[in-house]
Symmetry: none
Subunit: 188 residues, 4 copies
Amino acid sequence: MAAPKRGQILNAALGLFEAKGYGGTAVPEIAQAAGVAVGTIYRYFPTKEALVRALLADCQTRFEADVLAPVPPTATPRATFRLYWRRMAQFARSFPVAYRFLDLHDHAAYRDPSAAPQGEALTAALRDLVARGRREGAMKALDPTLVMALLRGALAGLARHASPDGVLPPARVEEMEDCLWNAVAARG
Amino acid sequence: MAAPKRGQILNAALGLFEAKGYGGTAVPEIAQAAGVAVGTIYRYFPTKEALVRALLADCQTRFEADVLAPVPPTATPRATFRLYWRRMAQFARSFPVAYRFLDLHDHAAYRDPSAAPQGEALTAALRDLVARGRREGAMKALDPTLVMALLRGALAGLARHASPDGVLPPARVEEMEDCLWNAVAARG
Amino acid sequence: MAAPKRGQILNAALGLFEAKGYGGTAVPEIAQAAGVAVGTIYRYFPTKEALVRALLADCQTRFEADVLAPVPPTATPRATFRLYWRRMAQFARSFPVAYRFLDLHDHAAYRDPSAAPQGEALTAALRDLVARGRREGAMKALDPTLVMALLRGALAGLARHASPDGVLPPARVEEMEDCLWNAVAARG
Amino acid sequence: MAAPKRGQILNAALGLFEAKGYGGTAVPEIAQAAGVAVGTIYRYFPTKEALVRALLADCQTRFEADVLAPVPPTATPRATFRLYWRRMAQFARSFPVAYRFLDLHDHAAYRDPSAAPQGEALTAALRDLVARGRREGAMKALDPTLVMALLRGALAGLARHASPDGVLPPARVEEMEDCLWNAVAARG
DNA sequence: GATGAATGAGGCTTCATTCAT
DNA sequence: GATGAATGAAGCCTCATTCAT
C-alpha cells in the first residue's frame, strides 16, 4: 500500500486548512496533527503550497468521481438530473470538511494556473444531459455551464445559508432538487 | 466628510485581499498601495484583522443596501423577484472585486463570530416576498433561507463557473433569472 | 551621517565571518553582536549573502584605496615598490580581521560573479611600475599579474605561515620586502 | 585493501567541498555523488566535521609526501629549491581540486585545534635547505618560515591571480621559480 | 555492513505592530 | 495626525544524524 504517512498528512492538512484557512495554518501544526515530524512533510511535498495543491486535486478528483459514477442507461433525464444532484449533496454530507474546503476557500491564490479548469468533466456530463433532455422535450435549451453554475451554486448556497452547524438537512436537499428541476425543465 | 485616508486604505486593502488573499497581503503593501505610511493604517484600524472585518462589513452593508433599495409598492412578486436578482447581479458587475471578496471571504476564519450572520436583512425581505407570492398564488411555499441559498448560490455559481474573465455576461444573467423564477414559482 | 546601524551590522558580521566562517555564522548572532534586532539587518541587506557581498566589496575597496594612495612623483621604482608592499602589510596589520576575511573569502562561492575581478586597479598600478622600472633598468620584464601574485601571495603566506597569533611581525615584513625586491629587480 | 567506499566518499566530498564550500554541501549530496546511502557515510565518519578533517589531513599528507619525496643527495641547494617548487606546482596542476581545497577554504573553522600545525615537515626541510645553502654561500640567512611563506604564498598567488580557468601556466611557474630563487639567493 | 525514511533542532526570512520624531 | 525605522515572534524549510530493516 502507498506510504501511509502521505495520507495522514493530507488528512491533517485538510482539516486544518478548512478550519483555519491556508494562510492561517502553520506547517508544524499540520505535522503535529498528522503525528509526524515537520521534516517528514517535506519528504512528501516539496512545499506547503504543493501540499494544498495536491489536496485540492485530491478533493476535486474524488468529488467528480463520486458524482460522475456510472448512470443506469435507462435513466430518464429527470432521473439523471436527480442522481447528479443527490450525489453532489451526498458528497457534501459525507465529507463536509472536504466539501467546504473545495467550496469555500480562496483557491485562486494557490491554484496551479496550468491545471485544467476545475469541473471540466462535470460540465461535459451536463452538456450530454441537457442535449438529451432537450431532444426528449424534457428540458430547456440551456448552456451547460449555466446548469453547472446552478447546481454547484445551489449546493454551496444551501451549505452556507441554510445549514445549521454546516450539516445539510436532507429535507432541504430534496426540496431544492424539486426547485432546480423546475428551473431547467421545459415548461409544461 | 470622514477622513479620506480611511477610504484609501479600505480601497487598497480590498484590491489586494481579493487578488492575493488575506494571508498573502502584507500590511506595508497595503500602506504603499494606499499611499500612506504604515503607521497611519494603525490610526484607523487597531489590527490587520480589524481592517478585513471593517472591509467585509462595508461590502456587506453596501451589497444589502443596493439590493434592498425600495421596491415600488405596486410591483408584483414576479417583478420584485426579478428586481432583487438584477440588483444582486448589478452589484456583482459594478463592483466585481468587492463581490468576489464577499463571496470568497464571508465564511473566513477571521470573521467576527459575534457579528450578525450576514444576509439577515435580505433573508427577511425574501421571507416577505415568499409570503406575499404565496398568498397571491404566484410562488411555492418555500423556506426563505432556501430561496436565499438559491439566489446567492446561483449568482456565485455564475460568477465562478460561467464567467470568462470574471465578467458576468448579461445574457446569462437574464437566462438564469428565468430559470430561477421557475424554480420558485407555483406550478401553473 | 549615514545610518549608523548599517555600519554596526557590517562590523559585527566582519568579526563573526572571519572567526567562524560565513556558513558558521547565524544571522541572529550577527544581530546580537551588532546590538540590533534580527529584522533590522533585513532593512539594510536583503539577504545574508548580500551582506557578505557588501562586506567583501567594502574591504576590497578600502584595501585598494589604502594601497593605491598617491605615490610621490619623484619616487624611484624601488621606493614605489617598497611603498606598495608596506601599505599592503600595513593594512594587514591595522585591520587583521578584514585582511584575513579578504584572504579567505575572495574566492568564495558567494562572490558576485558579475563583480569586477578583484585587484584590477592594483594590477594596473603594478603594470605601470614594471614598465617604468624596466625602462630605467631597475626591474625585470615581468608580467604584472605575476608580480601581483608574488606580492599578495607573500603577504598572505606571511600572515598564515609566519605570524604567531596572526600578528605580522614588522621585522619579517621588512625582511620579506628585501627578498621580494630581489625577486623582481634586474640582476646587477 | 581498505574499504573502497571510504575512498568514494572522500572523493565526492572533496569535489563538493571545493566547489560549494563545507557549509554549502549537504551530507545527502555527498552520499549521492559517492553512490552510497546516507547512512553509509556515518559508518566511516562519525560526523560531517570528522569527514572534512580526514579530507584535509589526507590532502595535506599527500601534498607533503609529494613535495618531500627524496632529493638526490648530490643536488645543489639551487637544484633542491627548484625541485621543491616544481613539485608544489606539479601537485597544484595534477590535483587542482585538492590544491584549491587546501589553499582556499576557510579551514580554521573546522580545523582540529589539537592537530599539528600544518606544514611542519615542509618547514623542517626548508630549514635544512637554508642551512646548507647558507653554508655553501648560495643563500641568504632567512627564517625558514619566511621561505615557506614565500613559496606557498607565491604558488597560491599564482593560482589565484595569474591562472585563467584555474590552470597554472607552466611558463609562469618557471618564471616565478626564477624570481623566487633571486629572492632567497645570496647576492652575487 | 548497507540502506534511506524519519526526525527535529535550528537556519533564514517575513511581517504585524510600536513609538520616537 | 502622520511617519517609517525598528522590533522580534513566528513561519517555512534544510539538513546532520539516527535506527529499524
